[in-house]
């Protein structure tokens, strides 16, 4: 919503800047405008804003938005005496269209614009008065351009952060959404390269939501069985106990035989201690599961005997 209003305000600011031929400076005089914007359906109007601008010397010879600026075009400009009406259409990401009219005298003007967007309708009332101070009429154009440039830079920076975050946190949905939050092919490749690495793959697998790994498999066309085999072999060669323990039962057994079995608890190399403890716990839990099976079988047998023999 904020983005919509911001874009609309930028577009309106650009549109309301007086039309003139491109020039580094242009003699002008200061005017002051007050605008009041209201979104249809909102219980309150946005606070009125007042701002000064520099208008080229002379009359309002063209509508404020007669200049074709960015994605907005004014059409159907009709002038009758000191009143002007026009239509405006903005394409691009924030589509909107509207109509405006203004009436001016030598010292002031009033006007309104009605804009229609997907999010709703917005109306704007404006009033301006001549202040008369000499100024550079080309400055607004430069300021608007700078503002637009800054907004675009911030958007790019924000997108870059989102893309990098997806690589760091291994969130494939950033690349697969509709539309994807990140469209950067380089970052997508980076994500897939990380998904093929032990660290990245482990993050995906550890998430345990089932969706992240599945999503990454589709996005990066991963052959999971082949990938795991390769990563486990590499982890065993590197003695990467953090990867081996949760992911590679066969390789863990090999490492446990080499580094844990037959050693006293305090004699295990510190690097392998946590791995060996967890491995010992895994073996203990397997023993426990077998014992649980035996216990349950014994209970079932007892019940059967009880029913048959009547005790």
């Amino acid at each position: 919503m904020f983005r919509t209003v911001r874009t609309a305000t930028l577009a309106l600011a650009a549109l309301l800047a007086p039309a003139f031929a491109a020039a580094e400076t242009e003699p002008g005089e200061e005017w002051e405008q007050t605008t009041q914007m209201e979104m249809k359906g909102m219980p309150f109007a946005m606070p009125a804003t007042t701002w000064k601008f520099c208008k080229p010397l002379g009359d309002f010879s063209e509508p404020p938005q007669a200049r074709k600026d960015g994605d907005c075009k004014t059409t159907e400009v009709k002038r009758t005496g000191n009143t002007m009406k026009w239509k405006v259409v903005c394409t691009g990401q924030e589509k909107m269209e509207g109509e405006g009219e203004m009436t001016w005298s030598g010292q002031s003007y009033t006007g309104k614009m009605d804009m229609h967007m997907a999010q709703g309708d917005m109306s704007m009332k404006m009033s301006g008065k001549r202040l008369g101070k000499a100024c550079d009429a080309a400055k607004l154009k430069r300021d608007v351009a700078a503002l637009q440039k800054r907004a675009e830079e911030q958007h790019q920076m924000s997108t870059a952060m989102i893309c990098q975050g997806a690589v760091d946190q291994m969130t494939p949905s950033t690349f697969t959404g509709d539309p994807p939050l990140c469209k950067d092919a380089v970052k997508k490749d980076e994500f897939c390269a990380r998904a093929r690495s032990g660290k990245g793959y482990q993050i995906l697998k550890a998430r345990q939501d089932g969706i992240s790994l599945e999503s990454a498999v589709k996005l990066c066309k991963l052959d999971v069985a082949k990938l795991e085999a390769g990563l486990c072999a590499a982890a065993l060669a590197d003695k990467d106990v953090n990867f081996l323990g949760p992911n590679c039962p066969a390789e863990s057994k090999v490492l446990a035989k080499a580094e844990c079995a037959g050693k006293s608890f305090s004699g295990v190399n510190a690097h392998y201690r946590e791995f060996c403890t967890k491995y010992a716990a895994d073996e203990l839990v397997k023993e426990g599961a077998k014992q649980k099976g035996k216990d349950a079988a014994v209970e079932q047998g007892k019940k059967l005997l009880k029913g048959v023999l009547g005790f």
Binding site: S266, E274, A280, L284, K292, K302, L304, V308
Partner: protein, 277 residues
Amino acid sequence: MTTPQRLLAVALGLSVMGAAPAATATRTAPPTDRFPSAAASYVVAVGDRELWARDADAPRPPASLTKLMTALVLLTGDWSPAAEVVVSPRAAREGGTRAGLRAGERVPAGDLLAAALVASANDACVALAEHAAGSEAAFVARMNARAAALGLAATHFDNACGHDAPAHRASARDLLRLARAALALPEVRRLAALPRATLTARGGRTIALASTNALLGRVAGATGLKSGFTPAAGKCLVAVAERAGVEVVLVLLDAADRWWAGAALLEAAFREAGQGG
């Protein structure tokens, strides 16, 4: 039912005992012996709930796990860690694990308690018992009185430090209750977590002592508590560990390998409680 039919039914029942289990009813179950190879007698508890146990009420020699009661009686009696304790010749002659105290040496009570709990020093233990009650026998009477008060029905002490004796007995479950009572004392928790301690006698002689608990610093969250060994008791252990607010306490009596078993059981217990890795 005819005799042949009954015999057939018995055979069927016995064969089912060796078959795969059917689904068990879901209800709060008493602790079961899931790990018979862990120790001759054991109990593992998460918070107030016993998860697994084997022969947990059978009286067995507790070895130096006894010193948990020694510490409990000392700390809840007329305790002053700065009080100067004179080591008697009898205490200095104590066998088994020792700090190496000399008869006549004067040592702060706090240092002696550290030696007894951290390094399982029997000479420090007897010195404290004699200082607190006038004699070891009088101190042991206090230990038995406290055992009765705690409801340790399978427990009786014959000496203050855990030497083998026919009448010196405790069960794994009693030791679990004793451990919880001892853990309620901040000083026990502090001492049990120390990897080492130093005893300083008047005159300046210092004795450096290392913890007998191999789990400290090697098992995530391990904070104590006490080891023990005698020929009759075998390898014994009371272990405590805490992860993310969940505490596991276990007791092993006569374990084949108390450190591997203790570490693995702690890990398994945390997994059961949803805190495992």
